[in-house]
């Protein structure tokens, strides 16, 4: 990314963004208060929400939901309408931000061309009830008992693969609420975050939520750029960003692995939860991957199958980012997944100075998102502070663009080093960390205990 491109990205307001988010903020504040006993500010916020989607297909259901809620009648379907309206606002915000990003970077993006499959007929009513109770109570009223009521709901959803997405979301959300309970004593509530998590969960808990889109097989050479790691107490996802060269051209893709875990499995130990030596080997050894008939979902996600991939030649991610990434066509996300928090566009930023936790290029500041440096890799804030080159994900949150580092080139004790989040995918390469990890018995102890106690 050049200084002029960064300048364009940061220049001026994104048209329509603030008014849309203001309306969503009103709903978020009402959710903090609780939808069970609306006061005047909450009524006004809901009315504004209904007006904001007034010209869309959501007009009728949202208008009706707001009228009913204002009259004191609560039902799951009214809350689903509110969650839908909120999601539409953030979807529009996502589109405006992505358009700004594509314009600034000169990035080509394919149109969405997928179709969802039929909804899975799985029981979701219990999840909807709990989410309704949560919204009626409001964040300020959340206590340990209300959170505990989600445990049986999550347990039932976890064992059914088709509802795992919802289960993983509710488990992370519930753990967060439990850690904060009683919420009434909190000074500042993260109302946008909890509004996001609640409305995602409400939509995923609808019987009409479509099943996963159909994949198509792709073959070619995958050049990894880096890996983004997401984690809460009971789940971890590693999402590899890369560029796929195939007969159909060059495009950006992702490959994700998800594993269930428990809170005591943390740090480099999480890599050992994945049985994917080919993909992890490519990350650890900086190699390309040769794919043969790997399923590709319309949103640009490879549905990873180890048997459809083999390790290829060495491939330096910085070379890929410099030479191949600019030629790649980016992919539009699935329509229902559009949200600013999901924006994660790979970029290469070079020849910057780091000042106060930001990369500065020609006077333009792009702050590093240091919170997102994963605990399972060698990338530290100190390395980022000493860096001059970075492959990262452009993100947007709380009104600003951020750069989440996936790999950096830095100078440590006058020696050049390259460090990436996936360097320890086959185990820590740092002798001190490796020694400490060898004593980290979490995965083996818990697997042994599970083997012995769950079947006795």
């Amino acid at each position: 990314m050049l200084a002029t491109q960064l300048g364009t990205l940061l220049a001026g307001e994104v048209a329509g963004l603030d008014p849309a988010l203001d309306v969503a903020d009103g709903l978020d504040d009402a959710l903090a208060h609780g939808l069970g006993r609306l006061g005047d500010p909450e009524r006004a916020a809901l009315t504004a929400l209904a007006a904001a989607v007034g010209g869309s297909p959501l007009s009728t259901p949202v208008g009706e939901a707001v009228a009913k809620l204002a009259a004191g009648t609560v039902a799951d379907e009214y809350l689903a309408a509110l969650a839908g309206a909120r999601t539409a606002l953030f979807g529009a915000a996502h589109d405006a931000l992505l358009a700004r990003l594509d314009d600034a970077l000169g990035r080509q993006r394919a149109e969405w061309a997928g179709a969802g499959t039929d909804a899975a007929a799985v029981p979701l009513a219990a999840a909807r009830s709990w989410l309704t109770e949560l919204a009626v109570t409001g964040w300020r009223g959340v206590d340990e008992d209300l959170v505990a009521a989600s445990a049986p709901v999550v347990a039932a959803l976890l064992v059914e693969p088709r509802t795992r997405r919802l289960a993983v979301l509710l488990d992370g959300f519930g753990a967060e609420l439990r850690a904060c309970a009683p919420v009434a004593t909190m000074e500042l509530l993260p109302v946008r975050r909890w509004g996001d998590l609640w409305s995602r969960a409400v939509l995923l808990a609808q019987d009409t939520w479509p099943g996963p889109a159909e994949p198509v097989p792709v073959s070619g050479r995958l050049l990894p750029l880096g890996v983004d790691v997401h984690e809460h107490a009971t789940a971890v996802q590693v999402q590899v960003h890369g560029v796929l060269e195939s007969a159909e051209g060059v495009r950006s893709v992702r490959a994700s692995l998800v594993a269930a875990k428990v809170d005591t499995i943390v740090g480099p130990a999480v890599w050992s939860l994945f049985d994917a030596p080919v993909l992890l080997g490519a990350l650890a050894e900086h190699r390309a991957l040769e794919l043969a008939d790997m399923p590709l979902l319309p949103g640009g996600d490879l549905r990873w199958r180890e048997s459809a991939a083999r390790l290829g030649e060495p491939a330096d991610p910085f070379t890929t980012a410099r030479l191949v990434l600019p030629t790649a066509t980016a992919v539009a996300p699935p329509p229902l997944d559009r949200h600013p928090a999901r924006l994660a566009e790979p970029v290469l930023v070079e020849d910057y100075q780091t000042v106060d936790g930001a990369a500065v290029l020609d006077g333009h500041r792009l702050r590093f998102d240091l919170d997102r440096l994963p605990g399972c890799g060698p990338l530290t804030p100190a390395l980022v502070a000493g860096s001059t080159g970075c492959i990262g994900l452009l993100r947007w949150d709380a009104g600003e663009w951020l750069l989440q580092p996936l790999a950096v080139r830095a100078t440590v004790k006058r020696k050049p080093v390259v460090a990436a989040t996936g360097d320890w995918a086959l185990g820590p390469t740092d002798a001190k960390v490796a020694k400490a990890e060898a004593k980290n018995d979490a995965v083996s102890v818990l697997r042994e205990r599970a083997g012995r106690l769950l079947r006795s």
Binding site: A155, L197, G399, L446
Partner: protein, 173 residues
Amino acid sequence: MDETEPIAVGGQTGADPVRRSGAVLVRPVPVRKLAKVPFVELADGRVQGVVSSGSDIARVYVSSVTAVGHGLSCSTNNNRPCGALHGPYPCKHLRLLLSEATLQYGLPRVARYLRVEVEPDGDLESALDPHHEPTPAATVFSRFLRHLSYLELPEVAEPMPELHWFGGTRAVD
């Protein structure tokens, strides 16, 4: 700031935590060895968990301290009382449980859960006013089994976009 606590304000990049989708509220727990105490939690009004038997690999002890009144309980998962728990004196299982709870959640959070005041370098056990109060092992043991069952869930091949909200995973060092 106490780093083991949920923090309402995001970490280093916390511009506006109220309007921040990626606000970080829960940090990962510190690494601890699990061989002796594979499971400990602050839940159901108790510091409770499971302690592996030193002599029999198939046996575990279920130990707990109630937050209110500091009732001590320790028995095998088959409800056989622990022979080492007498009156108000914690057995070695309970001692291990409390020290591992302190490692996992931090002394301030465990002390607050047990409603006692302990100096940062103080001793948790001596701050308790305990008595023997046997509780059935089944509830805690089944929570432990549920905890373990996460490791046996079948893999899912679909990406999970919702996990983008859980990207703030760096332990504060």
